[in-house]
Structures are given as C-alpha cells and as structure tokens.
C-alpha cells in the first residue's frame, strides 16, 4: 500500500509537471480557429432552462450560416447531468451544453468541455464580466464557458405575515431568529422559512455568505472545507432553528413544500432571483398577490451575499463544430436579442453587463409587493468573491443530501456537514486527486 501511494505521488508529480509545461507553452493556436473566421453549419444545444427554444429560434432567424437544433433535457434533480455526461462520454453529446456553476469544474475535470480560448472574442465577453462571476468559469487561466445568469441569493417573505408578527424585514440572522420566534407566537402553525435537505446549493450559499471556503487549491492539492468554522457556525444556527421548530424541514419543490406556501404554513423562502416564478406559480391561486416581497439575505453583521444557482453555456468535448458553437454561446450570453427572445419565462438576472434591464422589461414583476430587481441588484453587489467550486460537486452534494436524511431521526446539520466533508475527501482521494483537509 505504501509503495503504491509513493508511486501514485510520483505519477501525480510527473503529470502536474507536464500540465505546467503545457500551460507555459499555451494551447496550440494553429488548430484552433480564430474568432474572426466565419463559422457555419448545424449545431445542437441542450438546456433545461425554460424558453431556450425561443432563443435558439431567434438565433436561427437572425442569421443563415449556423443552424441551432434545440433539445430540452431534464433539470439537475431529474438526471439532466447524468444524461449530458453520459452522452458526451459516448461521443453523441450536444455542441452546446448548459452547466450550472457548481457542476462545471467536474465537467472540466472529466475533460467533457472544451476551453473557449481562441474560439471567443475575449475582450467583448469574459473580460467585461465582474470578477466573482468570471471566477465561476475560469480554471487555470482557461475559460470553459460563458456565464449566463448570476443568481444572487435573496430571501422572499410574506410582508403581511411579517406585519402580523410585528417585525421588520430581518437584516441580520439574529433578527431573523427573533422574527421567527415572534411569528411563532402570533401564528403557532406558521414557519418563517423551510430548510430544504435536497437543496445542498442553498447550504453552500449560506456557508459562502458566512465566509466559508468549501473548496480551494493550494499548489497541486485541493483544500476541502465543507465543515470549516464558518460552515459550522451556519450549521449550528440552522440546527437551533430546526430544533425550536422555527423552520420546517421539507424537500424543496415537493408537493408538501408547494402546499405549505399556498396555505401559509411557510411564509418565507430562501431563494434567488429565479425563485420568483416558482413562488408566484404556487401562491397565486391562494390570493397572495402583492404580499410577497424580496429582501437581501440576513447577514452575520456585515452585508454579504452569495450566488445561489446560475448557469453557464459551454462547448462540449463531443462538439464537431466548436467555432459555430462558440458563436452561438456569444449570442446567448451577450446579445440583447437572446434575452428579449426568451420573453417572460423567469426573473432572470444576467451576468453580462447591461442585459439585466432587458430581462427586467420582459418579466412582469407586478405580482410582488416590492421592486424585486432593485433587491437583486443590491444583493449582487455584496456577493463575496472568494468562493470556488470543487472538482466533484456531485460527491459533496449527494453526501450532504443523504446525511440530511437523518434530520428527521435525530441527526444534526453539523453531523451532516462533517459526513459530507469526510465523503468528499475520501471520494476525491479515491479518484487519485491530491487533497489537503
């Protein structure tokens, strides 16, 4: 065993040296078409985002050289990534894929997406992005996708229920807890929010906001901190809320969750810009129009935010026409027409500067009791920039989700993050990656 570890260590050193060497000389430019070339042909585009069919159609109508064939795939919870990953490995994946930020490093690490360097006009695309969103798609000096949306985490509340409890919109987590208690006092069956075991990205975002760093690199090793001090603080906080029955533990998007929103059992939602549509859909029929408001997340003393969700578009390894695919991605992520074409399919908040107002125009936010876009804008400016996703998000995601399964039988959030930390480290090591805890 010892000798094998040594050998593996040596091998990893050798490959990393090779990698470094490759980085030094840069990619072979001759093989990569330059963006000035005029690509043409037919490409396929897979996405689980609503309304992308209309965007593809708009692109097809706007020019005649590239024809995009769109296909809807299931979302992450329904096996969308399994489908994408398997298809790319089998060589029949799409040319353009939609991958959320947490999953992207994994696809990069598996060699399933191509770097866009040389395919896109960098100065007109990535260079214009804010640093914290650019970091989501760049790894080791290469760009592996263009960001579509930058989803700032926000809270949604029923303002009538806050008023009933006699509280203001909570600014800090301390105030949030106090508000939850006051709500409980006036409405014993109501909860200020739900804690969703199946939404690990929400836990990640809450930890991120508290200053946690789940993943980082140090030299040629990963540093994994799924149970770092900041995360432990967050875990303890939510455990207290769960124990005191101030938040309800339910699977997000389940029938129970929807019903709780509709009948006022749960009067707050941890979400992001994209949650607005779902809240409206689930509560409109029960006459809650005008009652829901968006608010910045409560914080730990100083304003801080995180991204909760958001997708990038990428050129897959199986693409035979990367130049055309890159051209389409540029359209998707930077062109106003792409945003207009999607119409009112969601309260999008986009990464590329200047596009969000276009999305805002297409979206009818009159259901909400305040200017939700103003809240998104504010929340976006507070996102902490030092977050990085790890090379195998699914590993952490599954481990934490599974560990949350014990919450109903005496398990704690803290135990769950400890389990997830151990599972992540063990899983990465099993894949041969170098890990420091």
């Amino acid at each position: 065993m010892k000798r094998r570890n040594l050998l593996m260590g040596a091998a990893s050193l050798a490959t990393s040296a090779l990698l470094l060497a490759a980085c030094g000389t840069g990619p072979t430019p001759s093989a990569v078409p330059t963006p000035t070339e005029d690509p043409s042909g037919t490409i396929t585009f897979w996405s689980a985002l609503a309304g992308m069919d209309k965007v593809a159609a708009a692109f097809n109508a706007s020019q005649s050289k590239i024809k995009v064939t769109f296909e809807t795939i299931p979302n992450a919870d329904s096996g969308g990534y399994a489908k994408l990953s398997t298809a790319i490995t089998a060589g029949n994946g799409p040319d353009v894929s939609t991958i959320e930020y947490p999953q992207l490093p994994q696809f990069v690490s598996n060699g399933q997406v191509q770097p866009l360097d040389g395919l896109i006009d960098k100065s007109a695309t990535v260079d214009k992005l804010a640093g914290e969103i650019r970091g989501m798609v760049q790894f080791g000096d290469k760009t592996y996708g263009l960001p579509y949306d930058a989803a700032p985490m926000v809270m949604y509340y029923r303002q009538d229920m806050l008023a009933k409890a006699g509280v203001e919109v909570p600014k800090t987590w301390q105030e949030f807890e106090a508000a939850a208690r006051k709500l409980k006092a006036v409405a014993p069956n109501a909860y200020l929010a739900s804690f969703n075991p199946n939404q690990v990205p929400a836990t990640a975002a809450l930890a991120w906001q508290a200053g946690a760093k789940w993943f980082g690199t140090s030299g040629d090793s990963w540093k994994v901190g799924v149970n770092d001090d900041a995360t432990k603080k967050v875990a303890g906080y939510w455990q207290k809320l769960i124990d005191d029955k101030l938040v309800k533990v339910t699977q997000a998007y389940s029938d129970e969750w929807s019903l709780d929103l509709a009948n006022g059992t749960v009067v707050g939602v941890i979400g992001a810009n994209w949650s607005a549509t779902g809240i409206q859909k689930r509560t409109e029929a029960s006459g809650q129009k005008g009652q829901w408001i968006a608010a910045e997340m409560p914080n730990w003393g100083t304003p801080a935010g995180a991204f909760y969700g958001g997708s990038s578009f990428n050129v897959t390894k199986s693409s035979k026409n990367p130049a055309a695919a890159a051209k389409f991605i540029e359209f998707l992520t930077t062109d106003e027409e792409a945003i207009k074409a999607r119409g009112n399919t969601g309260s999008a908040f986009l990464a590329f500067p200047g596009l969000t107002p276009v999305a805002q125009q297409a979206y009818d936010a009159s259901y909400f009791g305040n200017d939700i876009y103003a809240v998104f804008n504010k929340a976006y400016t507070t996102v902490s920039p030092d977050w990085q996703w790890g090379p195998s998000w699914d590993l952490t995601n599954t481990a934490l989700k599974d560990a949350y399964g014990n919450l109903s039988t005496g398990g704690t959030v803290l135990e769950a993050v400890n389990t997830a930390q151990a599972a992540t480290v063990a899983g990465l090591k099993q894949n041969g990656l170098s890990v420091k805890e």
Binding site: S12, T15, N198, V249, G405
Partner: protein, 315 residues
C-alpha cells in the same frame, strides 16, 4: 401476397424428402431456430456482462488537481474491495435483506391466500376478482410509485389526513416507516400478478383428486391446505425465484419516493448505489463492479431457491 404464393408449395416440396432423414438434419434445423435467440442473447446479455467484467478490473486515475486527462489503470479486484468496503453499499444490502424479510412473506402469503380463495369461489365472481386483483399490476411501476408518493405525503394525502382525523399521527415517509411504505408499494404491485400464476397452477390440479378428498369428508379449508397447497408448490418455487431476482433489482420505487422525502438516500439499495456510482460519481468502473456483485448475489440466491424447491417437490 402475389410474390409469396409460389414459395409456399416450393418450401413444402423441399421439406418433404428431408423429413425422412429428420435425425440427420435435426441439429441443423434446431440450430437455425436457435440462432435468433442466441444472437440476441449474445448481444444483449453476454457482451454487456463481459464488458462490465472487463470494466470492473480497471480504474480511471487522476492526479493533482484533476484537471488533466485521466489514466486508465488495471487495478485487479480493487474495485470489488472498494464496493464491499463501502459502508453505504453494505447497509444497502442489509436494507434489502430487511425488505425481503417483510416483503416476501407478506406478498407470497397473500398471493397464496387470494389464489386459494379465488379457486374456491363461484365461477362468475371469480372472473371479476381475478381482474380486480390483477389490476394494480397493469399500472407501470413508476406511475404506481408516484401515486403512492402522493398518498404518503403529509398535508396532501387524503389517507394521512383521514388517519389524522381518526387521531392517528403518522408520517409514512420518515426514516422508520419509509421501508415498510415501499414494501407496501411492492406488495400492491406484485400480489395480483402472482395470484394469477398460482391460480393457473390451481386450475391444473386434477378435479378427481379434489372430488376424492370431498368424498373422504374434507371441507374446503382442509382441501385447500392439504391437497391444493402441496400441489401448487412447484409454482410457488417459480414465484420465489422471480420475486427474489426482482427484489434485488429494487430501484424504481425508492428513486421516485426519494423525491418526496430525504429519508431515502442516493445509495439506499444496491441498484441505486450502482446508479449513483455510474452517473453521479462518474465512476463507471466501480458501478460495473457493484453490478457484477449484485448479479452474483442474484445467481447464488436463485441457485439456493431452485435447489430448495426441487428438494421440496421430490417426495
């Protein structure tokens, strides 16, 4: 039609002399008939199994930060050791064992009872009961799981609500009750199917034996237990075989119910474990090893059941 007409007599004529030498060409004829089966069997069964076995001996090794090409290395039985050493896989097998312990007696027991009752009822009602009992099996497994997920979810289910109205607080989806809840779906789905098999076996019981029993003064219950039941034991053996293999494949119901409750983990049963390994952890090699272990387990259990039931049927 017009084209086919002349070929029919032609073939007949050609076949006529061959028949006299049937013993000589029998092997070839048999081979011709068997080829389609073995071709499909080889492509759809043998080849994937061999491929999985090969796959299970290799591993994708990355290094450093992992942002590089992974190397495929031969690791021998390492994948198997890793699967068997995985706490989640072993507890999945234990959970499956517990599932079998509840599921098989309940399902097979009620199938036997239903079949015997059906056999004893009058002819007209029999057809109706047969249909009613078989109906759940006509519902695809995924749909059945979705229906039951609805019936189990607190706050939505009329069932849970009715129980609450009666003063019974129950959450079918919590960590303790979710296993029986899934057993219930299996029982609901499969009892009817097995009733039909057993009932068919009962129909084949010679009527003169039953008449003899009646002449000897045996009542319906005595006839059912002492005459009919022993005579349908071979069919029961077949059912046990199918049930055990089917149980090892348990996947659909837990994966659907998992959407409604966090109590079902992503590695709840061995098949889910293999799925998770292949499509969530992207470790096809380990998934292959897990699948081979599950297949091996099914083979051993089938052997045990066939041995056991053939020994039971002999005397």
């Amino acid at each position: 039609m017009a084209l086919q007409a002349p070929t029919v007599p032609l073939r007949k004529r050609g076949a006529a002399p061959g028949r006299s030498a049937a013993s000589g060409t029998g092997g070839r004829t048999a081979a011709i008939f068997l080829v389609p089966f073995f071709a499909v069997f080889a492509i759809a069964m043998v080849a994937p199994v061999i491929y999985s076995i090969v796959l299970s001996f290799y591993a994708q090794q990355k290094s450093g930060l992992g942002f590089g090409e992974a190397k495929t290395v031969f690791v021998g039985l390492e994948n198997y050791f890793q699967v068997l050493a995985s706490e989640s896989f072993v507890s999945g097998i234990a959970r499956l064992g517990l599932y079998c312990l509840i599921y098989i007696p309940v399902m097979v027991g009620s199938a036997v009872v239903f079949a015997l009752l059906l056999d004893a009822t009058v002819a007209r009602a029999r057809k109706l009961f047969q249909l009613l009992v078989f109906l759940p099996h006509a519902v695809p497994g995924v749909i059945a799981a979705l229906i039951w997920a609805y019936l189990y979810t607190p706050g939505i289910s009329p069932l849970v609500q009715a129980l609450q109205g009666g003063g019974i607080q129950i959450n079918f989806l919590d960590a303790h009750l979710v296993l029986p809840a899934i057993v219930n779906i299996g029982v609901w789905e499969w009892t009817g199917y097995n009733v039909i098999i057993l009932f068919t076996a009962l129909q084949a019981v010679p009527r003169e034996i039953l008449e003899a029993a009646r002449v000897d003064g045996a009542n319906e219950i005595r006839t059912a237990l002492s005459i009919k039941f022993p005579l349908i034991l071979p069919a029961l053996g077949v059912i046990m075989l199918f049930t055990i293999i089917g149980t090892l494949q348990l996947f659909t119901e837990p994966s659907i119910i998992a959407k409604a409750t966090p109590s079902i983990t992503s590695t709840w049963v061995p098949n889910l474990w293999a799925y998770d390994a292949a499509f969530i952890r992207h470790n096809l090699n380990q998934a292959a090893a897990a699948s081979i272990i599950i297949a091996g387990l099914a083979a051993i259990l089938s052997l045990v059941v066939t041995r056991f039931s053939s020994r039971m049927n002999k005397p």
